[in-house]
Amino acid sequence: MGTDPQPIVMDETVLQAGERVVYPNQGVCRISGIEVKEIGGIRGEFLTMKREEDGATVMIPRAKVASVGLRHVAARSEVEALLGFLTAEADDPELDWKVRHRTHSDKMIGGSLLGTAEVLKGLHALSLLRPLPQRERELYDSARHLLVHEVAVALGMSPATAEDAIDLGLCPIAGSARAAEQARRISAAQEAELGLDDLNVAEITEAPATQEPPESEAAPPPAAEPDEEPSPPRARKRAAPARKANAPAGVAEARKRKPAAPKKKKAKTTRSKTAARVAGRRPAAKKRPAKRGGR
């Protein structure tokens, strides 16, 4: 990297209200301050902050601040170096899923910008050789989500522009010399028998990335739910009226049909803006603030 990464915040008293920090695996948050709260019958001091992307309230017991790995948002120079790292040729992906799982978990828990980018780049490189198992597909999306939002905040750009900047490095423009070079490297990697001798290259590059890997690789921890069955992209299936169930799978078919009748307008729903979170615990689902109808 071209610049030093942001150090972990060990002392919460250095944080000012309004400052932005990154909470590992949660994203960019804005400091609200130190507040006294009673949670679960226990009264204590909490560092409170609001997550930028959805306004959720995040609280960390004051005594645990040093251990959660908070850091300031990356500096512009650090992000620019990171984008260069994403553009550079990827190392051969780690094919041993146990090693991958351990290193990726460590990097995500560490929460550094570079560590998160390494997870994204490693899984992206692997996906060019073989479909990712569901668990790693989710990890890939989480790493991407965290990076997009931090890059956006650090460079003062929208998430859309941040994600495109990240991907211009990872995914060369079709027809470009870099795209040809990437295709050449993928073929070479597959020919070099990176443990892939029984896999058909042509089939893999056409296969959905969410497809399951071989059984031995997809084995989840004992307590985990099994991954979902592999399924190719298809038109949305839902328990819905017949019209929806018959929704076209592709554009060509869609052209033969009339447009869907507009749904009845729904009453405006109100949602709690506060999804309180205590350090180390993650709710089942994120809560988002109510959206306005138009701006």
């Binding site: 992307e53 620019e80 984008l83 260069g84 999306d141 991407r144 989500h145 997009v148 460079l155 750009m157 929208s158 998430p159 522009t161 994600e163 495109d164 900047a165 991907d167 211009l168 995914c171 060369p172 423009i173 079709a174 027809g175 795209a179 990437q182 295709a183 056409e206 296969a207 959905p208 990335a209 969410t210 979902e228 992209p233 298809r234 038109a235 949305r236 819905a240 929704a247 799978a249 592709g250 554009v251 060509a252 869609a254 052209r255 447009p259 869907a260 009748a261 507009p262 749904k263 729904k266 405006k268 729903t269 949602r271 689902a285 988002r288 959206k291 306005r292 109808g293 138009g294 701006r295």
Partner: protein, 174 residues
């Protein structure tokens, strides 16, 4: 509900194809809500400013959690970034309610253009439900400039993106 708003003249058939693709991908109603003027602020000497289209086009009457997709024919200005100019076929305000897709650079053949615009529409609207770029070669959420995106004309979402969009919609029904 997804409201498609044309800011330049489009054939009704082409807008139909876009609406169908959005309905198929997200399972929510989609209509050609209006044909409006392109906002002055978005006009530049050359291509259009996508960000200014989102902030100045309209107004469009919507309800909470509705999504708006603007369609234009003119090219959009590539955005600047530390890694160079970014190809800008469309643009979306992530997790919010407005996106734009441009038919510039798509095939001249009407059917092929409609299909390609529909795929781009599914991509940009996906960002409104917080979908990120996808590494599934057959998914509309692949980066629109990528080899994978160019190789597959279908406007489908992969199972991962479809499931994620469904979870988002449960939180914020459109």
């Amino acid at each position: 509900m997804i409201h498609v708003v044309t800011l330049e003249p489009f054939e009704a058939e082409e807008v139909d194809v876009v609406c169908h693709a959005l309905f198929a991908a997200y399972g929510v109603g989609c209509e050609h809500a209006a044909a409006l003027e392109l906002p002055e602020e978005a006009r530049e000497d050359g291509p259009l400013d996508a960000v200014k289209i989102l902030s100045n086009a309209g107004p469009v009457k919507t309800f909470a959690d509705d999504k708006i997709l603007f369609l234009v024919h003119s090219p959009l200005s590539p955005r600047e970034s530390p890694v160079g100019l970014l190809p800008t076929h469309g643009y979306a305000s992530y997790s919010e309610d407005k996106a734009v897709a441009s038919a510039a650079g798509l095939p001249d053949d009407p059917a092929a253009q409609a299909a390609a615009l529909a795929k781009l529409a599914v991509h940009e609207v996906g960002h409104l439900w917080d979908l990120h770029h996808c590494l599934d070669h057959r998914c509309a959420m692949c980066p629109p400039w990528s080899v994978a995106y160019a190789r597959n004309p279908a406007a489908d979402l992969c199972s991962f993106c479809r499931a994620k969009s469904e979870r988002r919609m449960k939180l914020n029904p459109a």
